[in-house]
């Protein structure tokens, strides 16, 4: 933090207008880009929820998206695997490149995009099936049916999700009989089972107790060597603890409410030496 004086909460929500002369850092030096978001805008009907977002997500790192409520963080995250296609009456402008391929190009196979991007939701959502069938659901979708192969995949995924030791003797029990933290790790294992390239996490620990939260954060550190992780969180301390890079989003004004990228860079820089005043106000807790 730049100063340690206790900060007074702001009485009026700040607004942000992006300065064309000073675009937010989008290309990170020396990092291989996994996801390339280029001039991306998202509309719910006529309402522009995201405005001209440009940033690159580096491979094998954890990137956090933070910002006050309603700024479009989840919308941005869900655009990365085209989950927003489920909402009627939406359209986009711009491009999102996943590993070099524009996922919004006409004729793109959504199933393939979604296989390459795993998603973990805010509230754990295991299927009402056994633990084994939960994890095996994805591989079975893609044609893996042999018992030996499935057994290996299930074991590997549950180990990667740090759940194997706790459930290996009760794989046939319902996935919904686990505790909240275990259910969330089961959902992570389920996403890992299809070997995605990038894992999207939408506030994965917000519904969990602190101990479970810690386990999830440790898990993320273990996973980032193999996967690229993008996490949306409204918990700034978590973003500071866990992520390597942070993107700060904000609505540009209370009237238009377009989600805009204010600043993007290494987490240490964002939290100790932010370039914009709005960023500093947010990370010091003066609004949000």
């Amino acid at each position: 933090m730049s100063d340690n004086k206790p900060t007074k909460p702001l009485e009026v929500q700040p607004s942000f207008q992006s300065d064309p002369a000073q675009p937010p850092t989008t290309i990170l030096a020396g990092e291989e880009a996994k996801v390339n978001i280029r001039d991306f805008s998202f509309y719910y009907g006529k309402f522009k929820a995201l405005g001209n977002i440009t940033l690159t997500v580096p491979a094998n790192k954890i990137t956090a998206i933070i910002g006050p409520s309603g700024c479009g963080k989840s919308t941005l995250l869900r655009s990365l695997n085209r989950m927003n296609d489920l909402v009627p009456n939406t359209h986009i402008e711009g491009e999102i490149f996943l590993g070099g391929q524009n996922i919004y190009a006409p004729g793109v196979d959504i199933v393939d995009v979604r296989r390459r991007t795993g998603m973990v939701f805010q509230r754990p959502n295991p299927f009402p099936k056994s633990i084994y069938d939960n994890v095996a659901y994805g591989p079975r979708l893609y044609g893996v049916h042999r018992r030996t192969e499935l057994d290996a995949i299930v074991e590997r995924s549950l180990e990667q999700a740090a759940l194997w030791d706790e459930v290996n003797d009760k794989l046939n029990q319902s996935g919904m009989a686990l505790s909240g933290g275990q259910q969330q790790r089961l959902c992570i294992a389920r996403a890992l089972a299809v070997q995605p390239e990038i894992i999207l996490m939408d506030e994965p620990a917000s519904a969990l107790d602190p101990v479970a939260t810690l386990k999830i954060e440790e898990l993320m550190q273990d996973l980032k060597s193999t996967y690229t992780i993008v996490i949306v969180t409204h918990n700034m301390q978590q973003a500071a603890r866990v992520s390597d890079y942070t993107a700060f989003l904000m609505i540009d004004s209370p009237q238009t409410r377009i989600g805009t990228l204010v600043e993007y860079g290494a987490t240490t820089q964002i939290f100790t030496n932010p370039k914009h005043k709005q960023t500093e106000d947010y990370v010091t807790g003066r609004f949000g």
């Binding site: 989950m83 199933v111 296989r115 959502n125 659901y137 979708l141 959902c187 996403a191």
Partner: protein, 321 residues
């Protein structure tokens, strides 16, 4: 809570005690509880009266023979309603086959695409259909099938019953599908499953208990229908599936012929038999009518209670974790 000062008004409001008017409130409470209790009991009286009376009259004549034997000629003591039991089973079986698959598929469509012309039509159409008098549906079956085939049959009766079962199945299935949380669907879609696979592998299994209830309730309704069978299944005192199969095998008839004889004959059902026997002047038949009423009532009660208890049991574990 004595004395309350409102900061905005800047003046004190009269002190309020929670014990004011206590007696009046207590008395009103007792009176209203008594009235609603009495009226509830009054509403339940017909149900229990019917159940009790049918048990009393029908219980006198019920016996194991009643279930296992074919009817005896008029005036002869004894005999049973095996033909009606088998007929009922065949009719509900056919009704189920014709009503369940289209019903579930229509419900899936209405649940997924509620605001399209077809989705609205499904919901509106089933509501209207459920209000059509069952005898009209029977006439429809007559005009459509009996006249074209030239004879009464279990098939015609089954189709008429299917039309009656259809709205119940569609409505319950649609409600149950809509109850499946969106998060479950999203979890499956995020893994890359196409929409149909998500429906088949995640949504329908999650809604399965409710769907089964809808089917059971539809079946219970079809069990008790008489009017639609008057012009379609007609009735047949000689119907006995075991005999059909045995004689078919004995005279080396093909499978198709045997099926024909099972499904293409007129059949009786329990309510139909009840109706016919109740109109006849022979005391034997009257007694059998009461016994049939008892059997019918017990079957329908059991299906209803089992369906509702089972669903309550299974869904409480799904939601209240």
């Amino acid at each position: 809570m004595t004395g309350y000062t409102s900061a905005h008004l800047g003046q004190a409001v009269k002190p309020y005690h929670s014990t004011d008017g206590y007696t009046l409130r207590k008395v009103t409470n007792i009176v209203m509880l008594t009235i609603t209790g009495l009226l509830t009991a009054l509403a339940l009286v017909p149900l229990f009266w019917i159940i009790g009376y049918v048990i009393y009259k029908g219980g006198q004549y019920i016996s194991l023979d009643f279930f296992a034997q074919m009817p005896r000629p008029l005036g002869v003591v004894g005999g049973g309603v095996l033909h009606a039991i088998e007929g009922t089973l065949i009719l509900t079986f056919l009704g189920g086959i014709f009503a369940i698959p289209p019903g579930i598929l229509a419900a899936i469509y209405a649940a997924y695409r509620p605001n399209t012309p077809l989705g609205t039509a499904v919901r509106f159409g089933t509501d209207v259909l459920s209000g059509v008098p069952s005898i009209v549906i029977g006439l429809f079956g007559y005009a459509l099938i009996v006249k074209n085939q030239g004879h009464y049959s279990a098939l015609a009766g089954g189709i008429a019953l299917a039309i009656i079962m259809f709205p119940t199945i569609v409505r319950t299935t649609e409600e149950m599908i809509k109850l499946v949380p969106q998060s479950l669907r999203e979890g499956s879609l995020a893994l890359g499953a196409p929409e149909w696979k998500t429906t088949v592998s995640v949504v329908l299994p999650a809604a399965a208990n409710g769907i089964v209830t809808g089917i059971l309730l539809g079946l219970a309704r079809a069990f008790g229908e008489t009017a639609p069978l008057l012009f379609t299944a007609l009735g047949n005192e000689n119907y006995e599936i075991g005999k059909i199969i045995h004689s078919g095998i004995a005279s080396h008839q093909g499978l198709l012929v045997i099926f024909n004889r099972i499904f293409e004959q007129p059949v009786d059902s329990l309510p139909l038999t009840l109706w016919k026997y109740a109109q006849q002047p022979y005391p034997e038949r009257i007694n059998q009518a009461w016994a049939t009423a008892l059997v019918l009532m017990v079957i329908i009660l059991v299906i209803n209670i089992v369906a509702r208890v089972w669903v309550y049991y299974r869904t409480s574990h799904l939601q209240g974790k």
